[in-house]
Amino acid sequence: MVYYLITCRSLTYAQKAARALERAGITAHIMRTPKGLSKEGCSYSVKVSEQRGPLALRILKDVDARISRVYLQYPTGEYREVPI
């Protein structure tokens, strides 16, 4: 499975993003951002399925969720940044 990993500035913003997605019927899981991706230090990300990723990003445009970066997470453990 491929996932979208939406990294946020803080846990609170990750929670805010996840709540907004859940309200829209998108399953969202909060997790620690992998160290290699969290350039400002520790942070939290919201993980959604690849299918729901583009819709999730559209929804979060209207939410002040302080998104830092967005990545595609591959089953191989690789990440590719998605321009936002």
């Binding site: 803080s10 846990l11 609170t12 929670q15 805010k16 909060i30 230090g41 520790c42 939290y44």
Partner: protein, 382 residues
């Protein structure tokens, strides 16, 4: 015990509060400090508490809710982020030392908008007269912790908005007891404790922030932006350094849920008890009662004296009979000065959702007896 000191701390809490505190100790660690289930459980509670507080106080976004240790902590954050030495700050004549002392510490030019007790139009006029183009901040005690006097927050907020002056509301006594709409008020900050009208544990408080403050009161770990030496520039992290009080926040969440479901009933209940108190106290001899004519200007807090008897003597005698009240100056000498009770202090009676009319009646009987006994012993001494 008949507990009539809710203005200090509500002693009786919903049973869900102590259960939540215990659950936190058993099951949760610290939010933002890991990805394991104990940390994420804590994170979920913190988020729920922010969300319910944002809804309850009509705050636009949950991140504008900052957890503090108490109202004093929140007031210090607000004052020290807005005020510097020599800045003109206008306050009411019913402020608590939690406002006066931080303002004194920063060297503010403290201007008291003086007005008599229970005279809301005079309070508005006093603020109107004292707010000048140089005014940096206006502070208002929403409800006096000594007299229960409800000050006209919305009117004073409107003046601040019209004149472009920052506004800080001290909601120590009103949070939970009166409806507060942060968006309608437009206050820059609203500070409140968790352990009074929100029925949370001691050591909890909320600071509602309209903006992210430029300065911070304390700095430290936040679980975010760890590579930066500066505190994060976003709320709530900017103002929440260090491990949060998870037992407290769990209890506060339970308290908020309790109050959110029944705020109108609590207000009605406390007003009914207060009116019963007022009517009963007015029948007692030598009573000096400080009460509003219009109950809309009073929450469940009121002050009294028995002529010629020291207020602390009355409180001690009540304690001997199993009644808990607070006497003295209540950390609010300015309020006592405004009411003319600075020299003698007052006995303060304050009720909560858990008091009953039977308790009020028992208190009145006990106070009447105490008044007679103390007067008798005074006569014997002379």
């Amino acid at each position: 015990m008949i507990y009539l000191d809710a203005a200090a701390t509500t002693l009786q809490k919903p049973s869900a509060v102590s259960r939540a505190v215990c659950r936190a100790l058993r099951e949760q660690t610290s939010p933002g400090r890991g990805g394991h289930s104990a940390s994420m459980k804590a994170a979920d509670v913190v988020w729920q508490c922010r969300e319910i507080a944002a809804r309850f106080f009509s705050v636009k976004a949950p991140e504008q809710i900052v957890f503090t240790m108490n109202a004093t902590h929140g007031l210090n954050v607000a004052i020290k982020s807005l005020v510097g030495p020599g800045d003109r700050v206008v306050v009411s004549s019913f402020e608590h030392n939690s406002v006066i002392r931080p303002l004194h510490r920063v060297g503010a030019d403290l201007i008291v908008a003086r007005s008599p007790l229970f005279d809301a139009p005079a309070a508005v006029a006093a603020y109107e007269a004292q707010i000048t183009p140089e005014t940096k901040l206006v502070v208002l005690n929403h409800a006096s912790n000594v007299f229960g006097y409800v000050l006209p927050a919305m009117e004073i907020a409107r003046i601040c908005k019209a004149r472009g002056v920052a506004f800080l509301l001290d909601a120590s006594q009103s949070a939970g007891a009166l409806p507060i709409d942060a968006t309608a008020l437009g206050a820059d900050f609203i500070a409140m404790p968790g352990h009074k009208g929100l029925y949370g544990p001691q050591g909890t408080g909320l600071l509602i922030c309209k903006h992210t403050p430029t300065t911070t009161l304390i700095e430290g770990g936040t679980g975010s932006d760890a590579t930066r030496r500066e505190m994060p520039d976003h709320l709530p992290d900017r103002l929440e350094a260090g491990t949060p009080n998870m037992p407290g926040i769990n209890g506060l969440l339970a308290g908020l849920r309790f109050v959110e479901r029944r705020q109108a009933q609590i207000l009605q209940h406390e007003r009914a008890l207060t009116q019963r108190l007022i009517e009963g106290l007015r029948q007692l001899p030598n009573m000096q009662l400080y009460a509003a004519q219009d109950s809309n200007f009073q929450i469940g807090v009121l002050s009294l004296n028995l002529a010629g008897i020291d207020c602390e003597t009355i409180a001690a005698a009540l304690d001997e009979q199993g009644v808990a009240v607070r006497a003295g100056l209540h950390c609010a000498p300015l309020a006592h000065e405004s009411a003319g009770t600075l020299e003698i202090g007052t006995v303060r009676i304050s009720v909560s959702a858990f008091n009953t009319s039977r308790e009020v009646d028992a208190f009145l009987r006990i106070l009447e007896k105490i008044g007679k006994n103390l007067r008798k012993s005074e006569r014997n001494l002379h």
